[in-house]
Amino acid sequence: MSLFWRRFLVAGIWIVAAIVIQNVILSQLPLPGATPDLLLVLVVGWAMTKGSLEGVIVGFVAGLMLDVIPPAVGTVGVWPLILAVVGYFVGLAADDGQRSAITPLVIVALASVASMGAYLSVSVLLGTSPMTSASEIIGQLFTQGLYAVALALAVLPALSLSIRRIEPTSPRW
């Protein structure tokens, strides 16, 4: 199997595993606020390692899966849109930024808050906006960023390891 296909197989396995874990385990934990967004951390991690082109592709596929795998309801297409854009910009930011230990965590936090803000905005545009209070939305945004950083600490090294297994030249953090 060529390197190209191996890479996309690995990405596919990561995406499905992330969504299943998110829906079956993380969403049923008695945590306050948002559900830890494993999928977003995965897209951000992939884009940081492999650049914006693969960030867009992985983000798009991951979003599409999220909109299709049960118990998804609502409009299909919102998450692929958001995650593709997130993948692109994270890829750009990682390309020209000099790396430190803290940079990936800041990027993850910003990306998770931005993705949720984007989701709310698109929902308002589509007329499917959730009727929630401002305080609840702020609480969700805050916990979202917090959980994303916590997940990133565990997920990013594992992701980087699995990418380097198929491609030893890729950067590590």
């Binding site: 609502g74 297409g77 750009l92 709310l120 959730p130």
Partner: protein, 320 residues
């Protein structure tokens, strides 16, 4: 060069996403969802069957103290129920006759597929949905009503072979025709997330009381919602009588954050079950459609004597 390709990929991804959104808004996303449910549902089933026992163990650890309280509560309740049972024995013979006369359907007349919750939608979508471990091979179809022992849970929104997705009644996009049990007034109950439901009367001048139960009004051909399934209790009323914005805040009977085993109604009874599914069995509200006796006044008497309510003489067990 590399960034040009990335920009191109981004443009394509955005265009394709918008196409999906438009197609989905026109209502053609069911096939994709059903396929997703068939292909990926088994993964969720498998993961759930592995992780559920572990999760149950840890959640039972945190509940040891409240379990003791639950046991003593249940013992008290049991004593009260045993007393009620003896009282009921004498009335049950008469009750059976009246029941058959009324031909109202009990909850036993519904054909229910029991199912377990295996996945819950993440809260950042602000959508309230769950995955169940029953699918088309168990006879589940899109649009069927989902209930549990407490009342209405939601409706099936997509079905895979072995799993199905349920849109919960508290989802903001869920609207259910409902009727206040005592005043018989009809309106629309809309989901409001964990805050419960909001109930808006069709007639702004109609009377509405706190503490009144809300029952589903029933959909056309009883799909997706059966009539007479309990929704919740009115806890607060906002707005003055006559104002167009008068809404009632409804506390659902179902504990949506702790859903575990639910029932999917796969076959509906031949006859209207009316209000006989209300949990604490208060007087079923006399509806104009019950015309079993020649005199008009008698239509409300059989239900009240057929199902003795907690308000009819039920001395506390301490007195006996």
């Amino acid at each position: 060069m590399r960034s040009r390709r990335a920009r191109l990929a981004l443009a394509i991804a955005v265009l394709v996403s918008i196409t999906f959104i438009i197609l989905s808004a026109r209502g053609s996303s069911t096939t994709a969802r059903d396929t997703g449910s068939s292909v990926f549902g088994p993964f969720e089933r498998l993961t759930s069957s592995v992780t559920k026992p572990i999760g149950n163990f840890f959640s039972s650890l945190t509940r040891i103290r409240s379990n003791e309280k639950t046991i003593s509560d249940l013992q008290q309740k049991n004593a009260a129920l045993q007393f009620d049972n003896r009282v009921l024995d004498g009335q049950s013979a008469r009750g059976r006759q009246l029941q058959s006369l009324l031909k109202t359907a009990g909850i036993g007349q519904l054909t229910i597929v029991p199912a377990q919750v295996i996945a819950v939608g993440p809260s950042q979508g602000f959508a309230w949905s769950i995955t169940l471990d029953a699918g088309s091979r168990d006879g589940v179809k899109t649009g069927q009503c989902v209930i549990n022992g407490d009342g209405l849970v939601g409706r099936v929104s997509s079905v895979g072979r072995s799993t199905s997705t349920v849109l919960l009644a508290i989802d903001p996009s869920s609207s259910i025709g409902a009727r206040a049990a005592k005043s018989s007034q009809i309106g629309i109950a809309t989901g409001d997330g964990l805050a419960g439901l909001t109930f808006q009367l069709l007639d702004p001048m109609a009377p509405l009381k706190k503490g009144d139960s809300l029952l589903s009004f029933g959909s056309k051909n009883k799909q997706p919602f059966l009539p007479g399934i309990p929704l919740g209790t009115i806890t607060d009323i906002k707005g003055a009588t006559g104002s167009l914005t008068r809404i009632a805040i409804v506390q659902p009977f179902v504990d949506f954050s702790g859903l575990d085993v639910v029932g999917i109604v796969v076959a509906i009874p031949d006859r209207d079950p009316r209000d006989s599914l209300l949990p604490s069995s208060p007087k079923p509200a006399p509806t104009v459609t019950i015309t079993i006796s020649p005199t008009s006044g008698a239509s409300s008497t059989p239900p009240s004597s057929a199902r003795p309510t907690p308000s009819t003489p039920t001395p506390k067990p301490s007195k006996s």
